[in-house]
Subunit: 361 residues, 2 copies
């Protein structure tokens, strides 16, 4: 069977064992005589999947009973709107650190509602780094402080948890959710579109303090209120069951592999392989991110010319390395090396980078 | 392999051939070396799926270039809010016919925003029928007139297309989309959560006149504006690719079977089998819906006692007939007989009904 090394930023590679398991039971889930996509969301077999997935996520994040997990559709982009709609006002605006495309998009939704403020921005440096703690100007009256924890397009990641002076900390972790242990208790609300590190596009995981989501404004549409999802265990209407089921399988896979500590170890090793290939290339490869903001999930780099970049993409593909073309905002290359990308796959890419450099410098 | 006859109202049974096809290519879609759930939504193989699915839906509905198909997450419940947010004002409210649970929920979202009015309601008759044309009081200033075309819970369906006096006609067709030819051109906007008749939960299909969705209010959050989806071909952010892919396969299956005319023929035959079993039961089975509002998709009926109803559900299951328990709002039984339910499956149920009646009257 043909399988490529898939370095796409999302939708992205998933563990082969997980795909095989889903394939094997696709026509008859849990001996129900139905596919997982045909089974009622009010049935016991689905209920088990739903609740086990929630429990595994909390366990992996080492969070207790004061947090809940919600499953919401619409992508992180809908969260960009739900967050200010639920929490921000003109008197208590949402405060945003702009460190890339998605944090800027999140801020824009608060701006549309007239309830956003900027705490820091690295836009003038083409988002080569995340803001430092000392640069954050968070109003004490802010309803929350929002960051994007890992910037998929620019290849940067927070290596510290911001201190907010008591303002609730919110984070978009779409591209590094469950990739490393972290002090998640310092966050009031974390969300992630699952299609990068955790499963098929179609669901966002929201992990939030219960006290924050147990009551929403009555003036909001039902499906935009966090308490609709909280009170009904994300079953107010039919949930995106297949995506949740796959996320459950991926979470179980992470647990079986050794949890977030093991993921972090592998991800650090993979990142090291690629950053070494960049740093030891005598300037042939130039990393986009500042060294102390480098992402463990998305490695961005340029080559000496756009012509060579095109050649790199084409030859990589011939070597079974797919999805290495970068986003137009940065140009060049991007290798996304989420949990499910094997060390072997990254070794093949690093060795290809080395060979390509020697043939073309 | 174990397969049951699945009469659940949604998520619901899907064509076995379609499931088998998806299973066979689950690890390597279109020879890409990736699963359909791992492949980029900006890639050519996905693009083909996305656009072919749109084209097939328009073709099946016999709609031309003045309509577009959008893929939106959040379920029909989010459409209940997006519709008044995009189209209704206090001066030009949305007008609603209340014929069951979901049309009432749709109206409630307009009510939350203070922009809804009721054109007709059959609530006092426990929604045994849809309103007649003569009962509809639609304000000439209404922004739209909204119906739920088929009422899954009560087992009723519109057998006529309402005349609105020029007010744009909107319809929730979640439970009868693509089940029969219809005069779709009379509708300005049609939407359907796909998990009943068309695929796995996780996407809503919106079929709308382009002139209606090409420009939305700038004050709305990006993901709640129809023009965001229209202008970006539903690819503003990562779409729920797996659900769309499966809907595409189901649409192709419908075309191959003979299109909506053939679906209507089969669905009429299936409905006839069950309604005959009810009507010829000497009152043992009592249909909930008035005869001229009977649904071709969901057949609702009661038995002489709740004890017998429990027994019916249990014995049906022993006969491989799953999901026949009705919704608590009606009680009794409900058999959902969407496109993918075979005539054979319905024959087994009808014959079981007959046998059960004879053993228990």
């Amino acid at each position: 069977m043909k399988r490529v090394y898939n370095f796409n930023p999302g939708p992205a590679t998933l563990p082969l064992e997980v795909l095989q398991e889903a394939q094997a039971e696709f026509l008859n889930f849990d001996n129900s005589g139905m596919s997982i996509i045909e089974i009622s969301h009010r049935s016991k077999p689905y209920d088990k999947v739903h609740n086990q997935t929630k429990a595994d996520i909390l366990e992996l994040m080492n969070l207790g009973d004061d947090y809940d997990v919600l499953f919401i559709q619409g992508g992180a982009s809908l969260q960009f709107a739900m967050i200010p709609l639920n929490f921000a006002t003109k008197a208590n605006p949402g405060s945003y650190a702009l460190s890339g495309t998605f944090s800027s998009n999140a801020y824009r939704e608060a701006e549309i509602l007239g309830v956003g403020e900027v705490a820091a921005s690295t836009k003038d440096e083409n988002f080569r780094r995340v803001p430092a703690q000392s640069e954050l100007k968070i109003s004490p009256s802010a309803a929350y402080f929002h960051i994007c924890n890992n910037n998929t397009i620019y290849g940067t990641e927070y290596h510290y948890v911001p201190e907010t002076g008591g303002v609730p900390l919110f984070a978009d972790m779409s591209s590094d959710m469950l990739s490393r242990p972290w002090d998640f208790k310092k966050f009031a609300l974390i969300y992630a579109g699952v299609q990068k590190n955790l499963g098929p596009a179609g669901v966002v995981i929201v992990v939030a303090q219960k006290k924050l989501i147990e009551k929403s404004l009555d003036t909001l549409p039902t499906m935009l209120r966090y308490d609709t999802f909280y009170k009904k265990n994300s079953l107010y209407n039919t949930p995106p069951a297949f995506s949740i089921y796959m996320v459950g399988k991926v979470a179980a896979w992470i647990k079986n592999q050794g949890g977030l500590a093991e993921m972090a170890k592998r991800n650090a090793r993979k990142a090291e392989l690629l950053y070494s290939a960049i740093d030891s290339s005598d300037g042939f490869y130039r990393g986009h991110a500042d060294k102390d903001s480098r992402s463990f999930m998305n490695v961005t780099f340029r080559l000496p010319s756009e012509e060579l970049e095109k050649k790199f993409v084409a030859e990589a593909l011939e070597n079974n390395l797919s999805g290495v073309k970068g986003h137009r905002s940065v140009g060049g290359m991007r290798a996304s090396i989420y949990n499910a990308m094997s060390i072997e796959g990254v070794e093949v890419l690093a060795s290809f980078m080395d060979k390509f450099r020697r043939s073309n410098s």
